[in-house]
């Protein structure tokens, strides 16, 4: 079914279940409880999980399969956002054409950058992509934003103004991004006892799109093309001496991953109609690298896990402050309480990057295969335990002869 084998199909269905039920899964704590700050079931955070999931899935097609490490993919995401906002400004708030154009523009842009960068491999390739991305950032931040020709609106960021033409806009349609009239912001709030759950149109649009592109990624991983990409990572020389030209293969992977990034950028603009140059900065490019490595490069589910993990920690840890810590440790003697808060302070709030850095180091050192490897090890551990139990049972059942 779906052209997937049993394992991939199961994985796909698990991802469907997790994303569709995310409003419940991410809000396990009653909304008034002190643990409510660990809830992540807010529309805008859930949207970000899924959008960065798409970004990471695409990045993994390039990095996970071919091993080419791009440090410039945020440029494609940024270009996608700008393209989408321009559609909003000129034509309509309907997100469909905006998203399609975002993907197309990012695809063209990545074809250009990939064509040049892929002339080299290894560290030189990474540096070239980084240089291109920083150039794009500079263009967006200042060069392409002057009174005569204002493509990006510089520091302020590109947004939709009341005097923008919006030629296809009609008064009956919402004055915000929508899908054929259904506003991305419309939200249904479900209260069950002390719990609150949010069901948001924008989130579910992102989910549907992510599931489609995740399915495409699975098919691609399992296709002959995916095998060729893995062969490039494994031994590019052999591939060339086997009669295959590795350049178009890597370029195709580069453009596909660039289109995924553009899609993520377009969706970002669809959820919140503005685009800023900071989306293209090298830190944003680095973040997707972290996501994929943390989750497990070259695995199917890894990038989604990594994206969710990083975005969750970014939001939750950065929200914790000293006051909250004092509440938690209130049961301890005063001196000890202050001491603990003092120790933990650098790792929370603005210091969450420090926490992330430490987590990242631990994962890379102890779980080179990322969170997926962690999961597999746990699985094996339980598997073995079960096996030994079974063996013990068998031994007990076999009568001595």
């Amino acid at each position: 079914m779906l052209g997937l084998n049993f394992r991939d199909r199961s994985l796909f269905f698990i991802v469907i279940a997790l994303t569709v039920l995310a409003p419940f899964i991410l809000n396990p704590f009653p909304s008034e409880s002190s643990l409510a700050q660990f809830n992540a079931g807010y529309p805008d955070l859930m949207q970000r999980f899924v959008i960065f999931g798409i970004f990471a899935i695409g990045f993994n097609i390039l990095f996970g399969l071919t091993g080419y490490l791009s440090f410039g993919h945020a440029a494609f995401l940024g270009v996608g956002s700008y393209a989408a906002v321009w559609v909003f400004k000129l034509f309509t708030y309907n997100v469909l054409p905006a998203i399609i154009l975002a993907v197309a523009v990012a695809g063209l842009f990545s074809l250009l950058i990939g064509y040049v960068s892929l002339r080299r491999s290894g560290i030189y390739f990474s540096i070239l992509t980084l240089a291109f991305a920083q150039m794009s950032f500079a263009l967006a931040y200042s060069v392409l934003s002057n009174p005569k020709f204002n493509l990006t609106n510089g520091e302020t960021g590109l947004q939709v103004y009341a005097d923008d033409p919006q030629w296809l806009h009609r008064d009956s349609l919402p004055d915000l991004p929508h899908l054929f009239g259904l506003s991305m912001r419309s939200n249904y709030q479900l209260d069950i006892g002390a719990w609150t759950f949010n069901f948001n149109v924008g989130y579910y649009l992102c989910v549907v799109i992510m599931l489609i592109v995740f399915y495409i990624a699975i098919r691609l991983f399992r296709s002959p093309f995916g095998m060729m990409l893995r062969a490039i990572k494994s031994n590019q020389q052999r591939l060339n001496y086997t009669g295959l030209n590795s350049r178009p293969y890597t370029l195709a992977a580069f453009v596909i991953s660039g289109m995924y990034a553009g899609l993520a950028g377009g969706l970002m603009a669809a959820m919140d109609p503005l685009a800023g140059a900071e989306r293209m900065q090298w830190t944003a490019s680095g973040e997707v690298v972290l996501m994929v490595i943390l989750g497990g490069a070259g695995t199917l589910i890894g990038p989604i896990l990594g994206a969710g993990f990083i975005k969750y920690f970014e939001n939750i840890f950065s929200k914790i402050n000293d006051q909250i810590l004092h509440q938690w440790f209130a049961f301890l003697p005063d001196g000890l309480e202050d001491f603990l808060v003092f120790i933990i302070h650098p790792f929370i709030g603005k210091g969450w990057h420090l926490t992330l850095g430490i987590l990242f180091m631990l994962v890379v050192i102890f779980l080179p295969g990322g969170l997926v490897e962690g999961g597999q090890r746990l699985g094996k551990l339980f598997g073995r335990r079960k096996k030994t139990e079974d063996a013990a049972k068998d031994a007990a059942n076999t009568p001595a002869e």
């Binding site: 399992r222 296709s223 002959p224 062969a231 494994s234 031994n235 001496y241 009669g243 195709a252």
Partner: protein
């Protein structure tokens, strides 16, 4: 005119003359052995044939076409496959995948975007790959990770990867090095069988004289980058120049 014509090839590495005025003519459907002591320039010569190195001077013609300046994948698509001295395989892939890649290269050319096809649709490729695995006695290892195999198995795998492409010219750089005696004999049988059944010309570098004399129709002896003699096997054994340069060294 041979299928492969090497004329006046020179290659220097800094001060070292690795190849000096090498001429070589390999006739179609023959097995041509190149022998010579370590460092004679044998591998360097093969590197010049497959596009890994470009000779400083001279010409290399395959089937009337110059290969100089062609990219490795273009040369392979012309019909030249090579087995390397140290096994070059896709070690992160399974044995079957290793074999399927050259099958795709043979059928689809140097690039095809088959991103949404599945292997289930590629019956012909799978059958071809399975058949060659039977031929080299590796069918039971088809789902093995190729990195975890013995050196001898890696070699046989690499040879199978080249054979499955049915090249017109097969270049073998010490194909039996690191193999047990039994495996060596199997390899000889396999190469003989292939030479009989298909129109494959082979150019083989080998230190094992048993392999050379069981397979070769012609032998070229290379010493210090220069071709010493080229002759039929029975004449090579008795040639005093060769004994001095090569066989003498082995006998000593």
């Amino acid at each position: 005119m041979g299928i492969l014509e090497v004329k006046g090839v020179n290659k220097r590495f800094g001060g070292l003359q690795a190849l000096g005025d090498v001429n070589l003519s390999v006739k179609e459907n023959t097995v041509h052995a190149i022998i010579g002591p370590n460092g004679a320039g044998k591998s360097t010569l093969l590197n010049c044939l497959v596009g890994k190195l470009i000779p400083d001077t001279g010409s290399v013609m395959f089937d009337g076409q110059s290969v100089l300046g062609c990219k490795p994948h273009q040369i392979n698509q012309m019909g030249i496959s090579r087995v390397f001295q140290t096994p070059e395989i896709f070690s992160d892939l399974t044995v079957l995948e290793n074999i399927m890649i050259p099958c795709f290269a043979k059928r689809d050319g140097s690039f095809r975007l088959h991103a949404f096809e599945s292997f289930a649709q590629e019956k012909d490729i799978l059958e071809k790959a399975e058949a060659i695995l039977e031929d080299v006695n590796m069918a039971d290892k088809r789902h093995m990770h190729s990195a975890s195999m013995s050196r001898g198995d890696k070699r046989r795998l690499e040879m199978a990867m080249c054979l499955v492409q049915e090249p017109r010219l097969l270049l073998l750089d010490e194909p039996t090095a690191g193999m047990a005696r039994a495996d060596t004999n199997n390899t000889i049988d396999l190469l003989k069988q292939i030479n009989d059944q298909r129109d494959i010309t082979m150019c083989i570098i080998e230190h094992d004289m048993h392999v050379v004399f069981s397979l070769a129709d012609r032998i070229t002896v290379l010493a210090q980058g220069r071709p010493l003699v080229e002759d039929a096997p029975e004449n090579i054994k008795g040639n005093p120049k060769v004994q001095e340069a090569y066989l003498g060294e082995v006998a000593a």
